[in-house]
Every structure is written in C-alpha cells, then in structure tokens.
Symmetry: C2
Subunit: 404 residues, 2 copies
C-alpha cells in the first residue's frame, strides 16, 4: 500500500467560500503526513442553477450540451479550492477530466469510467503538488464532455484511488458517517464505526444517500478501502472495510429506505423464456437502474412481472413499454408512484433465520401493509405505501434494537 490518500469533497463541503476554506485546512493537515489527491464536486446549488438555465430553453435538453454545461460546476470549484490552498502556502494545481484523460463511455449524463491517466497524476504528486481534480466529469474518446450522473464524484474518487493504488479513499460529506438508519427518521440511530463493503452496497443502493452505489461497487470490485466522514466536524466517520466480519456479526446492521421510485406491473404476461430480458433489456440499454424485480409463479401460463425504477425515468420507461408491445404480449400495465421501499441490511442475516418473519410481524402489528417482498443474502426489501415509509423505518429500528 502506498502513502497516498484520495480525499473527495461533496457539494455541501465546498458550498461557500467559507466551506472551501475549511476544506483547504483539512487538506493542508492531511498533506503533512501523506501524499494527497483531491476530488471535488460542484458547489452545492451550482449544478441546479445550471440545470435551471438549460430548462429555460428545453424540457429535455440535448445530453451532450447538458453535460458540457453542468460539468462547469466542478471546474469552478476545483480552481477555487486550488486558489484557496495556494493562499495557505500549499502547492496545488487543478485538473479537469480532459486534462487527466478521464475517459468514459459516451453515454451522456450517465457515463461510465473506462480509464484514467494515472501517470499524469503521479507526475504531479512527484513534483510535490496536490492535484485538485474535478469529480463527476469525463471525456469520450472523441473529446466530448460527459458527466457520471448525480453523485458521480464519488466514483471519480474511487476510480482514481484504485488506479493509483491509494492507501484509502476518504469521502467527505455533510454527515458523520453511516448510521443504523436515517437520523432524520430515527433520531436515536447510531453511527457505525465500520461496515462491510457488502452491507454498504446494499445500504447505498437502498437510499442511505451517503455515497453513490456505483462508487461502492467500484470500491468493492477494485478492493479500495473507503472511509465516509464529515468535513463539518472532526468525527471519526465510518470505515467501509474490505474484511467481511466488521459488524461483530450483528443480525441487522442498518435500515435503508427510498421514496423516489415508481413501480410497474405488467399483468398477464406469457411465461415463456426470454420475456424478462425482452422487457428489461431495452431499459438497461437506456442506462436506467432497475431495482426490485419480482415475477410471481405463473398460473395457466400467464404471470405478472413487477419492477421499480427511479421516478424521473418514467417518460423513457413508458416509451419503452409502448415499444415492446410488439414483441411481448401482456394484458395491461399498472403504474404506481405512491410506493416506498424499506430494507433491512446485514451480513449477519445470511446465517440467521427468523429475521424476515420478525420484520413482517412488527410491521403488521403497526398496520404497515407489505406489497412486495424481495430478498438477497444480506438484504430484505419490502415495498410499501410511500406514506408509511418513515413509520416502518422507526418500527424496524426499534424491533432490531439498533439504537443500542
């Protein structure tokens, strides 16, 4: 392991000149004993300001132009943070995606990182200069600007940490770490000192909102050690450990929820091989994350197929379903945006039975009706009415004694 630490600062961490100044102090301190690479998001509010400008002209602006537009937010914050560091006597230099060849797919607004020129970054480090790199941005092979989707700066940081073989990737945000549940919903939720990568993966995709799922996947795949911590205080954060057993084998380590999904159910589908692919293939081609996928056993050769997607993808998914009608026969489509998801996550769950029934019982006693159940080895997800999500999180947090 090298002595390099990658530090990523999110939008709220650099949301004002005062915050940028505070972040510069954190970097200055870390750089005393480590080589530091910094990845930075746009100042909070800036991306939305740019989106609002674009929306004046078009409800769905061309994605190439949209990405060129919103990527400027990161360019601004990287230059400002560099100037702030230099004013404190620290050698630093800003780099855009183009300048470090952060190559991505050409899937605008949702681009995936293909490669990054780590030698350029190493050269800068070797000069004793801290590179301040724009998160979120990429460039295609032909030089078009792309963006990685909301929260993409996390992925930028992990990708760089992986390529450069960094000791750790520190994700600075405005929360103290990962909690057993959202403290806004469960006031006595507990901060976890460490969590396994697998648990984090399930938590993040279920809406823990601290770190982008793709970044966690990246970290998991390339074995990058990640720490989530706050730039607003000196809290110790949560280490996302590469070892599996960090959670002292707790049965359930946390509860996640999500409210921004929409549920599609195709009724009366012919239960023939390849149907699921015919439906989900085009959705996946459109780079839309499908979350819960449920298909019941068929009755008389017909079945129901249910899946959830982010609610803002509705126009695209509607169009895709209209289009696949020619290939897939089904009776009708039911669309429900009034849903929410609650998940129990924990590596301990895989070896313990009874977690599911305990959860169902607790929810039922509190009048929370469960529409869909979906399980993985370390996760139990339940789709319920959106208005009941907060209550369900509180009930489950208590039921599994997570406040202790």
């Amino acid at each position: 392991m090298s002595d390099i630490i990658v530090q990523k600062f999110g939008g709220t961490s650099v949301g004002s000149v005062e915050r940028i100044d505070a972040v510069a102090e954190i970097i200055k301190k870390t750089s005393r004993d480590n080589k530091v690479i910094v990845v930075v998001s746009a100042m909070s509010g800036e991306t939305n300001r740019l989106i609002d400008l674009a929306k004046h002209f078009s409800k769905s602006p061309d994605k190439r132009e949209f990405d060129a537009l919103i990527s400027t937010g990161e360019t601004v914050s990287s230059a400002l943070l560099t100037i702030a560091l230099q004013s404190k006597g620290i050698q630093a230099r800003s780099y855009s995606a183009s300048q470090i060849s952060m190559k991505t797919t050409s899937s605008f607004s949702k681009a995936k990182i293909l490669d990054v020129d780590e030698n350029k970054i190493k050269d800068v480090l070797d000069e004793g200069i801290i590179p301040i790199i724009t998160g979120f941005q990429g460039i295609t092979e032909s030089g078009d600007i792309t963006t990685l989707g909301r929260g993409g700066s996390d992925t930028t940081a992990v990708a760089i940490a992986s390529k450069i073989n960094a000791k750790r990737c520190d994700i600075y945000t405005d929360v103290d770490g990962i909690f057993t549940a959202d403290p806004k919903v469960v006031p006595n939720a507990k901060k976890l000192d460490s969590i396994t990568m697998e648990e984090m993966l399930e938590l993040a995709s279920q809406g823990a909102k601290v770190m982008q799922t793709r970044a966690v996947e990246f970290a998991n795949k390339y074995r990058v050690s990640v720490k989530v911590l706050s730039s607003f205080n000196e809290s110790s954060g949560t280490l996302i450990s590469l070892e599996e057993k960090s959670m002292e084998n707790a049965l359930v380590s946390g509860i996640a929820y999500q409210k921004d999904q929409i549920k599609y159910t195709l009724h009366g589908i012919g239960d023939i091989p390849g149907t699921a692919f015919k439906i989900l293939g085009p959705i996946s081609d459109a780079d839309i994350d499908v979350d819960v996928i449920v298909q019941n056993v068929s009755v008389d050769g017909k079945t129901d197929f249910t899946f959830t997607v982010p609610i803002d993808e509705k126009p695209i998914v509607d169009a895709i379903i209209e289009d696949i009608k020619k290939d897939v026969s089904f009776k009708d489509v039911m669309v429900d945006s009034n849903i929410g998801k609650v998940s129990l996550v924990g590596v301990g769950m895989r070896s313990q039975s009874g977690v599911a029934s305990k959860a169902f019982k607790a929810l039922s006693e509190n009048d929370v009706n469960i529409q869909i159940i979906c399980t993985s080895e370390i996760k139990l997800t339940m789709v319920i009415d959106k208005s009941l999500v907060d209550k369900a999180v509180q009930v489950l947090h208590k039921e599994f004694n997570l406040e202790e």
Copy 2:
C-alpha cells in the same frame, strides 16, 4: 470567398435567457442563406462573479487557476445557446477551445492565439451543424486552459474567420456600430456606415470600446472583413472595410478617448542608444500594452521619457521600474493617474495639413491644456487632464463638423 459567416456575440448579447433566445433567432435567420460559425462570450456579469469568488481567497490568484476558473463562463453560454438553437429546430453543437484545439501561448490571462484546428470546424459545418464556439478561451501545448484577456472573444472570432476564410466576421454587441464619437459624451454623434481597418485600429486602441484592438489588428493582418453591429435591434452596423478609401476622404472620421491610463515620466535619463528598449522591453515582456510613448530632445545629454499604460498594471510597472534602476540611470519618476487621452482619427488627415493646429486652437479656446502630443499618419493623440476629457471630445466633435 466562401459563403461562411462568423458571428460573435458579446456578454450583453447573451446576458440573460431572453437575450440568448434573441441571439438564437439572429443565428437562425442568418443560417437560412449562409453557413454560420458562432463565437460566444460569457453571459455579462458571469466573469465578474467568478473573479469575485477567486478574490475571496487571494488578491492575486495564480493565473493558471484564474484562467481555468473564468473560462467556464464561455462554456456555459456556448452550451446554453446551443440548447436554445436546438429547441428552435436548428442543428448546433457547442465546442470549447480544447475541443477545436485553439492553441495559444502559455501567457495566462493574456494568451495569444497560435493556431486553431479549422478542419474540425469544417467537418462540423459539412454535417450541416452550426458550431457554437467558446470565445476568450485557449489551451496551451501541454493542455492548460488559458484566456485571451478582456474582450478576447473578438480575437477568437477573427482568428476563426481568417483560418476558415470566411466571407465576413460579424461582431454583435450592444451598440449600433462605430460612431464619430462616444454618443454618451456627444449626443449627436453620427453612426458610420463604414470605416477603414486602419481608422478602426486607431479608434479601437484609443478606447472606442466596441471591438478589441488585438482583434482589429488580427483582422487587418489577415484581411478579414469585419462588421460591428447590435444584437438588440436590426441596425445595419458599421462595416470595417478592407479598402482604404471608404470614408469619402473625410478629414477626421472620429474622435476617441480613454480615461483608464496612467502616465509615467522618467526624468533626467541619459540619452544613450538602447535606453528606450531597456525601459519598455521588460514592460512588453510582461504583456503590458504601452500606448503613448514620448521622448523629448535631450538637453545636456539628459532627456525625459514618458509613456502610458493601463492603470490596473500599475503594481507590475512600478516593480519593473524599481528593477531597471540598476541598468538605467535617471533622476526621478513621476507617476500621474489623473490623465486622459483624446484622439482625432481619420485617413484623410495624412494628406491634409492644419488638422492639428485647428484642434489645438479649439481646445485652447476652451481652456483645455494639452500635456502631451503624439501623432501618427492618421491619428493625433493629446494627453490632457482626466476631468477635461468629455469637454474636449465635445469641442473637437463640433469643430470638425462630425455631427453633419
């Protein structure tokens, strides 16, 4: 000559979403009968907003970072204008300096254009797409972002027009064209339908403020036909003609003034060869434009050397003068920021005598004392007290019957 028109829109022309929309209409109209290349400045106010952010951290921020920061303004406006055009059914695509290889010197904040990849632009035009190019920006050989200095977008436009052999370069601004004098100072100043490149060059450098001097020089050197016009109305603008005799041989075609200069006088300099270079060389190396340069005949081997520079370069010029003391002996330095310049410009002046004495007489009768006089073939510049500049412009405008 090709059928390509380069249209450049300045900051006020794209200063709001409504203005961007109006500019898109101008482009749409022009594109019916011409191939169009667009060069765009940052939305007015945006560059200053970014400068203010940087100044929070440092009074003199590192110029590489400063350029990376402020160049984002043009990236934003080019993407927005592209989205606006697309929403009107016009095919357009935004390009940054990096994307069209707008190569410059590495003199940050004052970079000079070295070359541009016109083939990339031609390919886009051949696809039937209007390229919307960021003005003001460049990149160095090693990929650092540069800017061309205030008003540099004009230079970008002319450079592209030259390389692509465009029919004309239209500089859209918030004034109707070139006037015989600043209409704010002389209300009955007259708009000129055409003006020679030479006259424009003298007018621009003397503060007509419509178009950047360097851009006019560029246009002159590479024989690019330029038109200055307003994006706010359908005025016919002023054509800056390549022919010399457009002005019907008017004696004086216009009056220019400038108030943002500072005057240095080195007293008691040894009148030996190379002295002027020893003084002006380092100033020129610092990319500072020296305007009026006057040296009187020497008395007893000693002389006075006077020159003017933009007032905001004072700290740098002061340091340079301190530094050259070791090479050049002089008695003392007099610095005067309370000066202004007034110039008569006209190709007719070269063949007509009496212009100067007529001007001196008129000013003297109106109690305007002339400190320095400096002449070229088509220009007569007088340095006077700053508070008398407006009056002098009015007096001269009347004296030479320019309102007629």
